[in-house]
């Protein structure tokens, strides 16, 4: 009997017993559904981490010169932490020296940050905002655009004009139903004039990017951020990755010279890039994938057991049929193949349903969490079909071999 005949026979069997087949397939269907969904969700998170999160926080072709990393995915030991605390601060002088050493086609910005509580005459107290004292190119490096008003100029930054650009949420909170442009916003009692409102940024990891206040570094804002004790970091962006690398090497030389480091000593500062921030993510992703595969695995094991049971019942139900087939010349291997193919087909059909539902689940996740673009990986679809077939074959071995061993005389006599 050809494989095609056997598959056709199996499909007929499924069609004839729709309800029974449905329950039979449930385990495999659920298993595969979760397999597809888990892979797609992890993929989505990965995409989010790599393209959205890292790019948003750290910028494209950008490095941040810092005392020690801000984004940490791995474990930091006590010893490392202590070593970091002993490192010298990054100062304004460092920032300027780096700027002077940069190659062309780069942008540079001082970035200092703290959490602060703004207040206005309309609202006093409320959620904290991220307060950033930066130089003018910060907006270009971070690709921040205003919804209304404008960002501050290089001149305003140089003279330390008391102006701020605020996030959408900060604007809505502290200027309820009022145009914030030209109005005053205070930070630790110091007055600043709002000149722009940023476009909506959304949030990452529950951290709203729309609650921020950005002002010129040379304004009074640096008293809020307490920049005399050292900067958050120095941002440098190259127009290409090559230029970024080049700029990074030049900055490294400058900093090592300034810190009087001997060639044998390691750097006592870091360059944080989206790649470096994500270095720990890969291992998290791996653990996440393996961990979340437990669910589909359980589904598949249950599916296999159910299929085995159903196949045992099928063999018992169709003992007479097996007898007839044997009388008409079916060899052991024909009967074995018939039931193996039936069980594998059953399982693959279950897997196909599971793939469909997996797509659905993935779409649902995408709908619920638009920031995580979960997408079904093609390889996981292929794996699902193979896994489905394998589960079916494994589950079918015992029932099929029982069928194949049946004595035709006894089988013909059964009813």
């Amino acid at each position: 009997m050809s494989l095609l005949d056997a598959i056709r026979l199996a499909l007929t069997q499924i069609r004839v017993q729709k309800l029974k087949s449905f329950f039979t397939l449930l385990g495999v269907t659920i298993g595969v559904m979760f397999l597809i969904a888990v892979v797609s969700i992890v993929n989505g998170m990965s995409k989010y981490m790599e393209e959205d999160f890292a790019a948003k926080f750290l910028g494209v072709n950008t490095f941040t010169l810092r005392r020690f990393p801000d984004f940490n995915m791995g474990d930091v030991t006590e010893a490392t932490w202590r070593e970091w605390q002993r490192r010298p601060q990054i100062t304004v002088e460092d920032a300027n020296a780096v700027r002077d050493a940069l190659p062309p086609q780069t942008r540079w910005a001082i970035q200092d940050m703290t959490w602060g509580s703004p207040s206005t005459q309309y609202r006093n107290g409320g959620p904290q905002s991220l307060v950033a004292a930066v130089s003018a190119d910060y907006f270009f490096i971070k690709n921040l655009d205003v919804e209304r008003g404008r960002v501050f100029t290089e001149q305003e930054e140089m003279v330390g004009a008391p102006v701020v650009v605020i996030g959408k949420e900060t604007a809505d909170t502290f200027f309820p139903n009022i145009d914030p442009l030209g109005r005053e916003l205070r930070l630790e009692g110091l007055p600043f004039r709002v000149i722009g409102v940023l476009q909506k940024q959304g949030s990452t990891f529950g951290l709203s990017l729309d609650r921020q206040v950005i002002g010129p570094f040379h304004s009074d804002l640096k008293r809020v951020t307490k920049s005399r004790r050292g900067l958050y970091g120095v941002l440098v962006q190259g127009t290409t990755n090559m230029i970024q690398q080049d700029a990074q090497e030049r900055a490294r030389e400058v900093m090592r010279r300034r810190h009087h480091l001997h060639p044998s000593e390691p750097d006592d500062f870091v360059f944080e890039t989206s790649e470096s921030a994500l270095s720990g993510w890969q291992s998290i992703k791996q653990a996440l994938t393996i961990g979340s595969l437990v669910l589909p695995a359980i589904g598949l094991v249950v599916g296999a057991i159910v299929i085995m049971n159903i196949m045992l019942v099928a063999v018992a139900d169709r003992t007479r049929e097996i007898g007839i087939r044997k009388a008409l010349g079916a060899k052991r291997r024909d009967i074995l193949a018939q039931f193996l193919v039936e069980s594998a087909t059953l399982s693959v059909v279950g897997a196909i349903f599971g793939i469909g539902l997996g797509f659905g689940l993935s779409a649902l996740v995408r709908f619920l969490f638009p920031s995580m673009p979960s997408s079904v990986a093609l390889w996981s679809v292929a794996v699902s079909v193979v896994v489905g077939g394998t589960v079916g074959i494994i589950a079918g071995v015992y029932p099929a071999s029982r069928a194949a061993r049946l004595d035709p005389i006894l089988a013909l006599r059964s009813d």
């Binding site: 049929e321 007839i324 044997k326 008409l328 060899k331 013909l412």
Partner: protein, 267 residues
């Protein structure tokens, strides 16, 4: 002149005795079935039951033989052995010139597929398959291509006047039609013998006559037919009647002699 009255040369009892008493020697090609002292013992929980105690049977090509016997006579066991569903405990069974009594399961399956066409009392059609698919089944296991299978199965159904019913499932057919589908299935692989086990056991007398007519036509066209039955009037359609008793052949007569004996006994 009716088909049954045709004068087909019958082998004599003496001839048969010669054929069945030459152990290890392949019978000449005009003998389809030759058994030499076949026995079949069953172990029923430690107690050995001797279902067959040495059966000598020789059937020529194109014979039409009925095997009779009361229940427990061993006729079912003999049918299973002739049909290669089982192998004897001792003795030789030559089917179409091949010694099959020592064959393994898969070889027997092949022999059943090529040499034997079964017709059962309960028809044994696959309930969910159409008449055509049922008839195709032996060809599936013979490895015949799908297109040729269809052609040959249609031919076989036409032979039993069921060409117009080939897309019907068994439950859409009458008992007689079902049995004719089974006969078509039995014939489709051109077997050496048509082996029928109580072929009219589930049919009314009119339909039984109809099936017997089909058998007679097949016999007339050269098909060897072996029929196991316990009904004398059905057995009387065959041209030779073998009666089993206690696992042995108790009589082996032509139809005429058998009928004469019957009327003598009832008289």
């Amino acid at each position: 002149m009716s088909l049954i009255e045709q004068d087909i040369p019958m082998s004599t009892t003496a001839e048969r005795r010669v054929v069945t008493s030459a152990p290890g020697v392949a019978p000449s090609s005009d003998w389809v079935i030759v058994t030499r002292g076949i026995t079949r013992d069953y172990d029923m929980g430690g107690e050995i039951v001797h279902a067959l105690r040495g059966v000598e049977l020789a059937v020529r090509r194109n014979e039409y033989v009925a095997i009779m016997g009361p229940s427990g006579s061993g006729k079912s066991t003999l049918m299973n052995l002739i049909g290669c569903l089982d192998t004897p405990s001792a003795g030789e069974y030559w089917l179409n010139g091949v010694l099959v009594s020592r064959m393994a399961d898969d070889e027997l399956a092949r022999v059943r597929n090529r040499e034997i066409g079964f017709v059962f009392q309960t028809f044994n059609l696959l309930p969910r398959a159409t008449a055509l698919q049922n008839v195709e089944l032996p060809l599936v296991y013979a490895g015949v291509s799908s297109a040729e299978r269809k052609t040959r199965a249609k031919e076989a159904l036409a032979r039993v006047q069921l060409a117009d019913r080939m897309d019907h499932r068994p439950n859409e057919l009458s008992g007689g039609q079902r049995q004719r589908v089974a006969i078509a299935r039995a014939l489709v692989n051109r077997p050496a013998i048509l082996l029928a086990d109580e072929p009219t056991g589930n049919l009314d007398s009119t339909t039984s006559e109809e099936i017997m007519r089909v058998f007679e036509e097949l016999s007339a066209s050269g098909q060897t037919v072996i029929m196991v039955t316990h009904e004398q009037d059905i057995a009387a359609h065959a041209r030779r009647v073998v009666v089993l008793r206690d696992g042995r052949v108790s009589s082996d007569e032509t139809r005429e002699t058998f009928l004469a004996t019957l009327s003598a006994r009832s008289a």
